[in-house]
Amino acid sequence: MKTDADGLVQYYATGVTVSGKQGEEDYFSCVQYHHTMGVTGQDSLTKETINADEAATVYMTYGLVRQGFQGSLVNRTIIRKSHLDHVEDFVKDLQEERHHHQELNKKQIYPGHDETYARGHHWGMHVDLNACIGCGACTVACMAENNVPVVGKREMSRHHEMAWLRIDRYFYGDVNNPSAVYQPLMCQHCNNAPCENVCPVNATNHSSEGLNQMAYNRCVGTRYCANNCPYKVRRFNWLDYNAADLWPINEPDLGLKSGSDDVPYGADNLTRMVLNPDVTVRSRGVIEKCSFCVQRIQEGKLRAKTEQRLLRDADVKTACQTACPTGAITFGDMNNEEGELTKKLASPLNYIVLEEVNTRSAVNYQARVINKAEGVDA
C-alpha cells in the first residue's frame, strides 16, 4: 500500500504498465443489458433499432462477443428525470401521469388487501435516484447477507446471474459523452404480484405485512414466476452453486472429508463459514429473489418485542440500505407515520416503476433531478 509523507494511504498509483497479459485474447461477460427494460438501441451491424435486452440475450452468449448496445431513454422508459430549471413542470406532468395510472388501476376486478396492509406493518422501500451513484455496494451487501451465490463469468454470460438486486444504468445526452442514471432494481414486493398467481405449487405468496415470500422447499422450478415478473428480478438456480445437495443432511453417505480434493468448492465446512446462518441456502432448481431481508425484519421485531416497545426505524435496516454510501435506499414501515420512510414517500418526485400495469409495488423511486449547466462536462 502506497503512503504519502504523512503516512496516509494513497489509493492511486502512477507509472503502472500492463505486463504478462499482453497479446492475449480473453472474453468478457457483458451483463449490463441483462433484464433492462424499455431500452432500444442501434444494432452496430445492421443499423436497425432493436430491443437491446433481446439482442443482448441473443448475441452476448459465451464465446461470441458482439459490440454492446448503447441504450438510451425511450418513451416507455422506467426512468424519470428532469432538469432543475423545469422541475415544477416535470412534477406536474409526473403527478398527472401517476394520477392517470391510478385511476385506471382502480378498475380492477378484486378489491385488494388494502385493509389487511393498513394494520400492523407494511414494509416498503424508497430509492432516491439522485443519490444513487451506481457503485454496486448494495448488490455486494445483498449477496453477502443473503447467501447469494457468486456464479462466475461463464454463468453470467449465460444470463445465469443470481444477484437479487441489480443496478440498471440508462444513458442520455450526447452519445459520445453520455450522462447516466443508475437504478437499483430489486423485488418490488407488489401487492398485486403477478408472480404469485402463476405458481402451481404455492411456493410464493404474500404475507400480511406486504412481503412477497418464497418457500424454497416448495419450489419445483417451473420458473413461471420469473416469466411473469414484469421487473425480471427473480433468479433461478440453474446449478447447485452452493453445493447444497452435498450437505450432510441431504446426502449422509457421501463420505467426503473436509479439506480433501474430493470436496467441491462450497461443500466443506470452512468455506461454508462465509454463509449467513440466518438465511436458507438454496439448492438447484429453485427460484429465489429479494426478501426485503426478512431475517432482519424478524430480528428487529423480536428485539422490539423483548424490549417491550414499538418497532423503530433503526431496528430494521436491509443489507442494501446499510451498505449504501449515499443513503439512497430507505427501508421501513409504510404504516409508521413518524418513520423516515413515510417522510420520503411524501416527496412529489416519487414514482413507481411500471405503475400502469397495476402491480402496486412497495418500492418507490424518487425521480432524478439534474442541475448541470449547459455545456459542462460530467
Partner: protein, 176 residues
C-alpha cells in the same frame, strides 16, 4: 356376470338390414329375443328391441355436479377456513380463480363415474370373462340369440325355422 350355464340357439346374418327385418319378424311372432350382437353399432336397433333410453347420462350429470361441488366447496374451505393466504392481491375467496379447477374436477368426476357405472351395470370389468358366441360376430356377422332353457323341442324347431325363413346364413345351438 354369468352364474350358470345356459343353452342358446343363435343365427348369423350377413347384413344389418336382414337383421332388422328378422327382429321385426320375431317381434311379430312374439319370440323372446335373448340378445342381439353386432360388430358395430346399428342405428334403430334399440327401439326394435324395446330397449329404453340409457340413463347413464343422468348418472354423468350427477357425478359432474358432485365434482363441481367437491372442487368449489373444497377450495372455498381451504382458502377461507383452513389456510387463507394472499396471492397476487386477490381476496381470500377468489371465485374467478376457481373456474378452471372446478371445470376440471367436474369433467373428471363425470367421466370416471360414468365409466365405472357402465361397467358395474353391464357386469363388465377386469377379470370377468364374457363368452363369444361365434368368432364372426367380432368380424362382420350379425347375431340374434334365443334362450332355449326350458323350451320344448318343438319350440326350438320353431326358432330354427324362424332363422331359416329370415335368411340366416348359419344357425347353431350352443351352451355358454
Amino acid at each position: 356376470m354369468r352364474n350358470s350355464e345356459k343353452n342358446i340357439i343363435f343365427g348369423l346374418y350377413d347384413d344389418e338390414e336382414d337383421l332388422k327385418s328378422a327382429i321385426r319378424t320375431a317381434n311379430a311372432d312374439h319370440l323372446q329375443i335373448m340378445d342381439v350382437l353386432t360388430p358395430f353399432p346399428v342405428h334403430g336397433l334399440d327401439p326394435l328391441l324395446g330397449l329404453a333410453e340409457s340413463r347413464l347420462h343422468i348418472g354423468g350429470f350427477v357425478y359432474g355436479m358432485l365434482g363441481t361441488l367437491t372442487a368449489f366447496l373444497g377450495m372455498t374451505w381451504i382458502f377461507t377456513r383452513d389456510w387463507p393466504q394472499i396471492y397476487g392481491g386477490k381476496p381470500y375467496w377468489p371465485i374467478l380463480s376457481f373456474v378452471p379447477i372446478t371445470f376440471e374436477l367436474t369433467v373428471l368426476f363425470a367421466s370416471i363415474g360414468m365409466v365405472v357405472t357402465f361397467y358395474v351395470i353391464n357386469g363388465q370389468g377386469p377379470g370377468i370373462k364374457n363368452p363369444v358366441i361365434h368368432p364372426s360376430i367380432t368380424d362382420d356377422k350379425f347375431c340374434i340369440a334365443f334362450d332355449t332353457d326350458g323350451l320344448e323341442n318343438t319350440q326350438v324347431d320353431k326358432l330354427r325355422h324362424f332363422f331359416q325363413n329370415t335368411g340366416a346364413s348359419l344357425v347353431e345351438t350352443k351352451t355358454i
